[in-house]
């Protein structure tokens, strides 16, 4: 029997690996981190020590990680970076670099669980050292035992801001501001779903307890709209604004801080799926995700997808999808196993919760008014708002792809992972049109999954 090949060892990938192995399939699990668990259960090295206080549900994570380690059918490739993925005649070819050596993996089946990263929005000063993503701040705490600074502003939108703020407090830092851009009562939009997923509410209250014990008061309808540096070039303060329902600035005050962790939910990392040719669609939140059927199969037979890359929904939905993807892949390689009704029911319940979250935490168009002409949009290629506007008004760009070619916006090392989504919105806003799905999907496509040194290629066969 052929291996089930799984990419990504977070909640979805671990669940898929265990489900496929339990069905009798040998599994190859490829992950780019040094340790299993993904971003959600990011674990520190033994020397750094377990950062237990930073995880809400570490027990579940350790259970999955230990199960993967214990099963002899599962082979793990950790610290392995996939830099190229191609699909031809039913075979997927992955080029993987581990410890500077390239491995080529050919497989008819694949389970992609490549996760997501923080969604960011540009604002004046967002490139100053000290401004970072909430996910970055949390990964430093969970994975390295390092608090990024003493006085921390946590801002943006979405429930993820709560564990990040609680993590800062547990690590001995001061949350000087906790700012949610949306209004406080948006949870009331989906009361039934909230009650159905009461465990998630308990998790929220767990963080809120830590936050309120530290006497931190979260503010709604508020956002970080500018950052300022000191004479050394390091973050010194941010402008905190009261904003309207549509994110237009109403009133601004300046707040001193060492770190500003600003994030707007998540963007799915569909790079590998996109490179293989899996169909992508635009989700309700405007993000690009991989299209999937009820068995978690993508538009390409034999390629299954699970977790955040099918739509942002959190660890529990990822696990539910991972189990189904693992079973489906095992079935694909010939195991006698089936997805049960109970699996689908569990997934549907978590999906309803994910949909409610997306409805509760929209990113409204008014963020564009926070920018000035000098504000950087593309951090890699140092392209400003003014450069983009010029490409439209002087050079006649009428879509984001042309604007990108003219300015190099989104063509740097990150390949538009950070700015791509915002550029589509900015160009459309400047032209006074709505972005098309084609605009959004093309901004998410990248031919090379990760830049690698040429020497590694030269050293390969």
């Amino acid at each position: 029997m052929h291996n089930v090949v799984i990419v990504g060892a977070g909640p979805a990938g671990l669940s898929a690996a265990i489900a496929a192995a339990a069905a009798g399939a040998p599994v190859l699990l490829i992950d780019n981190n040094p340790r299993l668990g993904g971003q959600y259960w990011r674990l520190a090295s033994d020397a750094v020590g377990e950062q237990g206080g930073q995880h809400y549900d570490l027990a579940t994570g350790l259970m999955l990680i230990n199960a993967v380690k214990a099963r002899k059918e599962i082979t793990v490739l950790s610290g392995a970076q996939i830099w190229s993925a191609t699909h031809k005649d039913g075979i997927n070819t992955l080029r993987v670099i581990q410890n500077g050596v390239e491995k080529i993996i050919n497989t008819a089946n694949l389970v992609l669980c490549t996760g997501a990263y923080d969604r960011t929005l540009p604002f004046p000063g967002w490139d100053i050292p000290g401004v970072m993503t909430p996910g970055g701040l949390q990964s430093l705490l969970k994975g390295h035992g390092v608090l990024a600074g003493k006085r921390v502003v946590v801002a943006g939108s979405g429930p993820f801001l709560l564990p990040v703020a609680a993590g800062v407090i547990k690590a001995g830092g001061e949350v000087v501001e906790l700012l949610e851009a949306n209004k406080s009562n948006r949870w009331l939009l989906s009361p039934f779903v909230m009650l159905e997923n009461i465990a998630k509410l308990k998790e929220a209250f767990y963080y809120i307890k830590t936050i309120s014990q530290a006497k931190v008061r979260g503010r709604f309808s508020s956002a970080v709209v500018a950052a300022y540096k000191n004479s050394e070039g390091i973050l010194e303060s941010v402008d905190v604004a009261k904003i309207s329902r549509n994110f237009k600035i109403k009133k601004v005050r300046n707040v001193k801080c060492d770190v500003a962790a600003v994030g707007w939910g998540f963007t799915a990392d569909t790079s590998i799926a996109g490179a293989l040719g899996c169909s992508q669609i635009v989700a309700k939140d405007g993000g690009v995700v991989v299209k999937t059927d009820e068995n978690q199969q993508s538009s390409i037979a034999g390629i299954f997808v699970a977790g955040e890359i099918t739509g942002i929904g959190g660890a529990e939905l990822s696990m539910a999808e991972g189990v189904i993807a693992g079973i489906s892949a095992a079935q694909f390689v010939g195991c006698k196993v089936e997805v049960l009704k109970a699996h689908r029911k569990r997934r549907a319940k978590k999906q309803r919760f994910a949909d409610a979250l997306i409805k509760s935490y929209p990113v409204k168009a008014g963020w564009i008014t926070w920018l000035n002409e000098q504000t950087l949009i593309c951090r890699c290629e140092e392209v400003s708002t003014q450069d983009l506007k010029q490409a439209i008004s002087e050079l006649g760009a009428t879509d984001s792809r042309t604007a990108k070619l003219l300015t190099r916006c989104g063509m740097g090392l990150c390949q538009g992972r950070i700015c791509g989504r915002s550029v589509v919105d900015l160009v459309a806003s400047e032209l006074n049109i709505s972005p098309t799905d084609t605009d959004r999907i093309s901004a998410a496509n990248r031919p090379i999954i990760s830049p690698i040194p040429l020497g590694v290629l030269a050293a390969g066969e």
Binding site: S45, A47, V48, P129, G130, G143, A148, G233, L413
Partner: protein
């Protein structure tokens, strides 16, 4: 609490770290926030995404440029420098 168990240098200055930490995390713990200066505007940059996505924390490690400080695990005796411009 864990103990620092290795040493490396940043811009020639001794920094202590714990094995398993990334270069970026160890530098932040030592309050070194500026990891590079950009190609065109020579602006300061530091850790941003923290998980290998944004390529903003590029440093030169033992003479090799374009290394993501957030991903590279710190090793004893490493010589790390700020990256100025596109490469070493």
């Amino acid at each position: 609490m864990s103990q620092s168990n290795l040493e490396f240098t940043f811009e020639g200055q001794k920094i202590t770290a714990i094995s398993g930490q990334s270069v970026g995390a160890a530098l932040l713990a030592a309050n070194q926030r500026i990891l590079r200066k950009t190609r065109f505007n020579k602006n300061e940059r530091g850790l941003f995404c923290g998980i290998g996505v944004c390529f903003d924390c590029l440093v030169v490690v033992d003479g090799v440029g374009n290394q993501r400080a957030c991903l590279i695990e710190v090793k004893s005796g490493m010589k790390v420098q700020r990256q100025v411009g596109s490469d070493a």
